[in-house]
């Protein structure tokens, strides 16, 4: 899976299957502070993700 964390401006490659919530927990990210995007679409964090998915994690908190 390819995970792009916008705030870090970084891609992470990892083997992962499970919910968006579990993915966020893996990166120690509070779901309240981000939105999840898959294939250009907003998804909720209970969505089940596959190893072949590319997910973007966008920060909700504005920068200054």
């Amino acid at each position: 899976m390819d995970v792009f964390i916008e705030k870090q401006d970084r891609h992470h490659r990892l083997s992962f299957r499970g919910s968006g919530d579990r993915l966020l927990a893996l990166f120690d990210i509070n779901p309240e502070t981000v939105i999840l995007v898959k294939d250009g679409q907003l998804i909720t964090s209970d969505t089940m993700l596959k190893d072949t998915d590319a997910v973007r994690i966008l920060s909700v908190i504005s920068g200054g």
Binding site: E6, T44, S62, G64
Partner: protein, 305 residues
Amino acid sequence: MRCRKCGERTVFSSPALCKDHFISAFEKKVYDTIDRYKLISRGQRIAVACSGGKDSTVLLHLLQKRGYDVTAMAIDEGIAGYRDKTLAFLRRFCFERGIPLQVHRYQDAFGASLDHMMQRSPRKPCTVCGVFRRYLLNRHARDFDLLALGHNLDDEAQSILMNLLLNNRAVLSRLGPKAGIVEAEGFTPRIKPLYLCREKEVMAYSFIQNLLTDFTECPNIVDSFRAEVRDFLNDHEASHPGFKELLVHEYLSSLPRLQRQAKDSGDLEPVGSCSLCREPSAAAVCRACSLKKEIRVSSPERQGA
């Protein structure tokens, strides 16, 4: 998770709504806030304080969509690599939608950019930035009936908790969707139509409506008290969902009492004006003028003077 209204795939979880129902619920929440708190009367001219960030862009979009008379007002502090990017986005946005845009620059008003000022001042950038930004917004908003701010529910929950922790009753009495209960001369009333929208909702809406610029962060951002309170609230929200909304709603129900107390204790004395720039100020010299003197930048241009 399925939309609680139609059973389609959800884009938002609290409440669980599909894309179309989320959009209509979000817009309804903003317009209901405007109507319920009587924020805007027909025909009023509104300056929207815009940074190019998601909150003010969503606000501008929604106010224009409902047919209000809006002008975008941006402050260019002169923060290289940050504000130039967000303002480029805002310029394009306003151009494409035919929204008038005013950009007021520190360089023109104070003779130096924030970056430049920081080379000669030991002060924290955010202190200087905030004082000068409020000064310029206040002065230029005077040509309008209202100044609309993109403050969302998270911003307000942070302000409420910060001022509770500091026991700052005077400030507490002045928060709310229609800010500033002093009808002081020289102050354009400030309104916050996104008052009841969580930051995450604003972000989701701006993503769906394609109102987002690339993520950029001010290089001066530091670990402030606000950031500490924000992180606390978000952590708490994760374990106690609904807490931020509860805090803001409890605050709103106490607001009439806080306002009465502030009035009785004289915290709301009418403000005078600065002896140097004649802008409204409680002190003889306003904070902008004293900071300006301290940093030794040239005098703010006077409107019509």
